[in-house]
C-alpha cells in the first residue's frame, strides 16, 4: 500500500514563526503536492514538485516555499506564519504523468495564533 505520511496531525504556532511541514512517501513517486483546504474553498494547490529539486507554483504560493532534496520527501515552509495561514494542509504524491491517481496524507491541522 502506498503511504504518504505527514509529520504532524495538529500544530499550533505563533505569528511570525518559521514553520516546516514535512511529508514523506514510500512508493518512489515522481510527483508530490501541497494543498490547503478551507471550508467552502476546497483543495487549493500551493506548490507542486515533479522531480527532485523541481517545483512549480500552484494557485496560492504567496507566503510559502517548498523544498525537495530527496525524492521521497517534500517540505512546505511558511517563512513567517500569519493567522490567515491557519488551515488544513494536505500532502499528496503520484506517479509521473497526467493519468495517475494521487495518494494523500492524513493532513496537518495548523493553527497560527
Amino acid at each position: 500500500d502506498v503511504k504518504v505520511t505527514q509529520s504532524s496531525r495538529y500544530l499550533v504556532k505563533r505569528t511570525g514563526e518559521k514553520v516546516f511541514l514535512e511529508c514523506v512517501q514510500d512508493m518512489d513517486h515522481e510527483n508530490m503536492f501541497w494543498y490547503r483546504q478551507d471550508p467552502g474553498l476546497g483543495l487549493r494547490l500551493i506548490y507542486f514538485s515533479y522531480d527532485v529539486k523541481m517545483k512549480e507554483k500552484g494557485d496560492i504560493p504567496e507566503g510559502y516555499s517548498v523544498s525537495r532534496e530527496k525524492k521521497e520527501r517534500f517540505s512546505l515552509i511558511l517563512e513567517s506564519a500569519s493567522t490567515n495561514q491557519t488551515s488544513m494542509y494536505l500532502c499528496a504524491s503520484s506517479l509521473e504523468g497526467m493519468s495517475t491517481e494521487a495518494f494523500f496524507g492524513q493532513g496537518t491541522r495548523l493553527t497560527v495564533v
Partner: protein
C-alpha cells in the same frame, strides 16, 4: 481565469436513490478528470479517472461521464447507502507533469 466548480450546497437524498454530482470547468482543457471521496478529518481517496476521449466510465455502483463540449462531468452513485455520505471532489489534470487541480467539493448526505 481557470475555474472548476462543484455544487457548494450539500446534496441530501434518500437511501436507494441515485445521487448525481456535477463538476463544471472553464478556461481549461483537461486531458483527464478524476473523482475523489473525502471523509471528515481524512485525506481524499481516489475513486475513478476518465480520459477526454471517453464518454463514460463505471465502477460497481459508480458512474462518471465527461462531456468536453459542455465542459462538464457528472458523477453518479446508484442505489445509494448512508455509508456513501461524504464529500466528493473532482480534479483535472492537463500538463504533462501531472499537476492536479481540485474543485471545492460537494457534500452528499444519504438518509436511511
Amino acid at each position: 481565469s481557470q475555474k472548476i466548480e462543484q455544487n457548494s450546497e450539500a446534496l441530501n437524498i434518500q437511501e436507494g436513490k441515485t445521487a448525481t454530482l456535477t463538476c463544471n470547468y472553464t478556461n481549461y482543457s483537461p486531458a483527464y478528470l478524476q473523482w475523489y471521496r473525502q471523509d471528515p478529518g481524512r485525506g481524499p481517496v481516489f475513486l475513478l479517472l476518465i480520459r477526454e476521449n471517453e464518454k463514460e466510465k463505471r465502477k460497481e455502483r459508480l458512474k462518471v461521464t465527461f462531456d468536453t463540449t459542455l465542459k462538464q462531468s457528472l458523477f453518479h452513485i446508484t442505489a445509494s447507502q448512508p455509508a456513501d455520505s461524504a464529500t466528493y471532489l473532482c480534479a483535472l489534470s492537463r500538463s504533462n507533469t501531472g499537476k492536479l487541480i481540485f474543485g471545492q467539493g460537494t457534500t452528499l448526505q444519504v438518509k436511511p
